[in-house]
Symmetry: C2
Subunit: 222 residues, 2 copies
DNA sequence: ACCTGAACACCGTTCAAGT
DNA sequence: ACCTGAACACCGTTCAAGT
């Protein structure tokens, strides 16, 4: 949408985007600024977000009680994007033979998870770290997360029903799978891969390899 | 060691612990303060460490060029303790049948890794996170880490030689194993376990279960 | 109803001055 | 050689005052 500088000065409400911000959706703008800052590898500070929104240092506190609340809101937004991509990937996988094979869907899930984490490390961190804010205090984050957990739980239950799993301890498999995938994502984030001899270009291939290793480990051998 | 307040005032060097600090090994004291702060769940700040050492805010900068250097020094100390515990655990395992079975040693390694991480989460974070400082800038951390990596590498090579592994891709197994164990430790650290229905008391048992699941997945079935 | 701008208590870091 | 204490530029947060 182009700006509309030709509108009369003092335009009445209707479209409150005549001047840059000042009256725009500051909340939204602050969240976007926070995500941008993180993506740039910078520390996310309320003041810098305010600066980018061209408002005074105190203005953000009219929309968020404190810094953690801003981070939580940013995390909610990032999680929304994360989820959208995972569900899109699962949607694609559904068309193929994956519809019948729950372990292929499990694989597609893990792959989508890692691909997003590899490509959006800073946003992934905001979602998953426990440092910035109490994850449990956001109902949206809690619900979203529970739904993703339920999704993989169902895949494993289906797999078990079809006799595809060597072990009946689904909870253990699920947590091991999540630890694997979360650990891989965090190794990337925390800069561990150089010392493991995994170069930038190999990371996504290695992600796939590691997922396949895990799945072949839990699957019945036939 | 008890203090020696009976020594003459103005005691010559020899034992520079007559007065609390002020001339003691401030560097050491600051590192310990940083580790204590982390263990208490507080933010580690140079100023607070200085306060605990009863020195002025500028004093630490005579021993560390900046905050990151203090964090790196704290990480080196934590890594030393971490390594000591892992090697002790491997030493014990060596007596038993584990000496002959490289996968049992691999298991003992993973268990010791997770046990330490579960019991010292804040120190584990200082070691492993990439945020506080550039891990590669500390030769000691780099060397220590490389040695631990070489250790597990050797275990897997032995296992492969004895025909205990289903796959010949040792690098992939090694990275998957590390991702599993690192991810589990971080899930604990980042407060994920409540939402996965893993209670405080179950975490260590689950750690064991997850390691066993992984090993049974990579081992030849016989 | 929302924003400004000054203020406060923090923090990392520097630097002259002290011993 | 090492530490103090004041200073500076930041940050989160509050609050009176403006529109």
């Amino acid at each position: 949408m182009p700006a509309r500088p030709t509108s009369k000065p003092r335009a009445r409400r209707q479209k409150p985007e005549a001047r840059p911000y000042h009256h725009g959706d500051l909340r939204r703008v602050l969240i976007d600024a926070a995500l941008q800052l993180a993506a740039e590898g910078a520390e996310v500070s309320v003041r810098e977000a305010a600066r980018r929104a061209a408002v005074s240092p105190g203005a953000p506190f009219r929309h968020f009680p404190n810094r953690d609340a801003l981070m939580a809101a940013a995390a909610e937004e990032a999680q929304r994007r994360f989820r959208a991509e995972i569900e899109a990937a699962l949607g694609e996988a559904k068309g193929a033979e994956a519809a019948a094979d729950p372990l292929l869907r499990f694989r597609a899930f893990g792959l989508a998870y890692l691909r997003w984490a590899m490509r959006n490390p800073a946003h992934f961190e905001i979602i998953s770290t426990g440092r910035y804010f109490a994850h449990g205090s956001s109902p949206e984050l809690t619900r979203d997360n529970a739904e993703l957990i339920a999704l993989t739980e169902q895949m494993l239950a289906d797999a078990a029903e079809q006799g595809l799993l060597r072990s009946a301890d689904l909870k253990r498999i699920q947590i091991a799978g999540r630890a694997l995938v979360y650990g891989f994502a965090r190794m990337n984030l925390d800069g561990h891969f150089p010392r493991w001899g995994v170069g930038k270009g190999e990371v996504e291939r290695m992600a796939e390899g590691v997922i396949d290793l895990f799945i072949s480990g839990i699957a019945t051998t036939d």
